[in-house]
Symmetry: C2
Subunit: 339 residues, 2 copies
Amino acid sequence: MTRVGIRDVAKAAGVSVTTVSHALNDVDGSRVKAETQDHIRAIAKDLGYAPNRLASGLRNQRSQIIGLVSDEIATTPFAGDMIRGAQDAAYERGYLLMVVNSGLDRRLEEHEIRSLQQHQVDGIVYAKMFHQSTEVPAGLKGIPTVLLDGTSGNPEVSSVVPDEVGAAEAAVEVLIQAGHRRIGMLNNVDDIPATHGRYQGYRSTLERHGLAFNPQYLATDRPDARAGREQALKMLSTAEGPTALFCFSDQVAMGAYQAAAQLGLRIPEDLSIISVDNLEIVAGALWPGLTTMALPHYDMGRWAVTRLLDDIATPGRPPEQEVLACPLVSRGSVGPPPG
Amino acid sequence: MTRVGIRDVAKAAGVSVTTVSHALNDVDGSRVKAETQDHIRAIAKDLGYAPNRLASGLRNQRSQIIGLVSDEIATTPFAGDMIRGAQDAAYERGYLLMVVNSGLDRRLEEHEIRSLQQHQVDGIVYAKMFHQSTEVPAGLKGIPTVLLDGTSGNPEVSSVVPDEVGAAEAAVEVLIQAGHRRIGMLNNVDDIPATHGRYQGYRSTLERHGLAFNPQYLATDRPDARAGREQALKMLSTAEGPTALFCFSDQVAMGAYQAAAQLGLRIPEDLSIISVDNLEIVAGALWPGLTTMALPHYDMGRWAVTRLLDDIATPGRPPEQEVLACPLVSRGSVGPPPG
C-alpha cells in the first residue's frame, strides 16, 4: 500500500491539484463550484486521502497535539485511568493526545521527547506511574510541561499528585468512627512518598483521637499480597491483636484477606480492612468487596492536561503544585469491632 | 515557555542560522570547523533545541513513527503488555510508537486516525483490547495497517490473535494429566471468540480422552469474580461435583477460590483450578498462586509491529492471519484429584 497523495485525488476527480487543494481547504474566493467541491471531497474520502498536515504545521507552528510521556505503563494497572482522564480533557478542547512509553529507558525517553518536539507537539505531560519525586528531563526545556503523579525540585513546573496523608487520615478515621481502637497498619517498605505520607496520616489520626501508637501494630514489608498475608498472619496471631487493618494498597489488603481466611476470621465481623488504591480488578473482586481510598488517577490525568492547555493558551501563568484528594469507596470490608 | 528555534541557537552561538543548520545536520562539504560544530551542538542541547522534523519530513515523506490506535486502554489491565511488546519491536528498528486511545468513541477514533495520517505516520497498528472480530476503519485505507488482538472480514489486512481453542485444550489437558476425570468449566456468557474457542477446546479435549460431557459441569455467566463464586458454589455443592475447574479467566478463577474457601475446600488438595489470562496482579496474588494459560499480549504486540514494519519496508507481501499460542504458567492451583 502506498500513501494516497493530492495528485491521486486530482487524477481521480479529473481536476487540477490546485482545485483539489482549494476544494478541501475551503479557500475563500476560489472558483470551485459547490458541486465540484462535493465531488472532490467524496473522492478524497473514498481514496483515504488526508491533507498533509506537515506543510500546514510549518505555517502556523501549532500541531493541536500534546504528548504524554510515561515511564512504565506496562507494569502498572493504574496507567489506564490516568490516560483516560488526560485523553478526555484533551479531546474536549480539540487536542489529540499521543502517548509514548519509555519503560524506564532513559535513552528511549530522550529519543521520544526529541521526536515529539520535532513533530511540534504543543506541550507535554510527563507522567510517572506511581507518585514519586523525579527530575524533569532536560529535553523538555523550552516546551510547556506538566508533571503527572510526580513532583520535582523545579518550582517552575506545575505538577499534580494524590494526597497521601489525607487518604490515610480519612481511612483511619473510617475505622475509628466504626468503633475500632486497636488499628494495625501494613505499610510498604519502599522509600516513596506514599509510604511516608500514609504512615504520617495513620499516626496523626491515632494521635488526634488519643489512641496510643503500638509498634506491634505496625508492619513494613513489600507492597504485595504475599507480604500482606505474612504480616497480617503475624500481627493477628498475637494476643490483643488489632481488630482492624489499614493496608498500604489493595494488593496488600488481598493478602490480609487470605490471612483472615486462614485464621478463620470473618470480614468484617471479626476483622475490618481498609486500604488505598481502588483497583477495581482487586477491590471489586474480593469477597466481601474491599473498602478503599481511591487514588484519583482519572482526575489527575484531567488536571494535568487542563493545566497544560491553559499554559499553552496563556503562557506565563504562575505554576501550581496541586494535591488531589482520594475519595472513599465503601464496599463491605469495614464494620464495628467484634464483641 | 516558548519553543526554542534555530535563531535562538544561532544568536547564543554567535553564528548564522545556516551555520547552525549545517553543524547540526552534518552537511557534507560545509565549512563548519569541528570545534565550532561541537560548540553549536552543546549550545543547542543546552537550550533544548530540536531541529524541525516537519521540514525534513516533507523531503523524505517518512516520519519513522507508527501509530497504535486502541479502543479502551482504560478499562483493561491487558493493554500494558501489548503496548510494551509493540514498543520494544518499534524501538529496536528505530521507530517511535505513538499510542492514541478512542475509548470506543467512533468520532474520536476517526479524528485520531486522520491526525496520525496528517502527521505522516508510516503505518498503524489497530488494536482491540480483547480478542474480537472488528471492522478496519475506512480512514485506514491507503496506509499500512495491522490488526492487533482482532480479526476482520478483510483478508488483505494482516492480524494477530491468541489461540483460544489451543489454550483451552492445553488447560484441560493439564487437569487430565493430573488425574482428573470430573472437570467443570466456568465459561463467559459474552458472544466473543474467547467464549466459543475455549468452550470448543474444553469439549474436544474431553472427547479426545473419552470423557463424557456433563451439562451439570458447565456454567455460563458474566466473566467476573462474583459470577465465578456463585457458579462455583452451585457446581461444587452438587453430589458428584467436579474435582477440577477450568475457568474462563483469572477473575472468574478468583471467584472460584472464594467459593472453595466458603465450602472448606483446599486448593489444590480438594479442588484444582486452572484458567486463562495470567494477569499477574490476580494470578500471582491469589493463594496458592493460580495456574493459568498466558494470553500472549506482549508477543502479539511485537508481532503486529514487526509485521507492520516489514510491510512498510517491503510493500505488497501477502497478508497473514496469525494465531499465537498461549503458554502454560504453572503456579500452585493444580494437583491430583482427592481420594
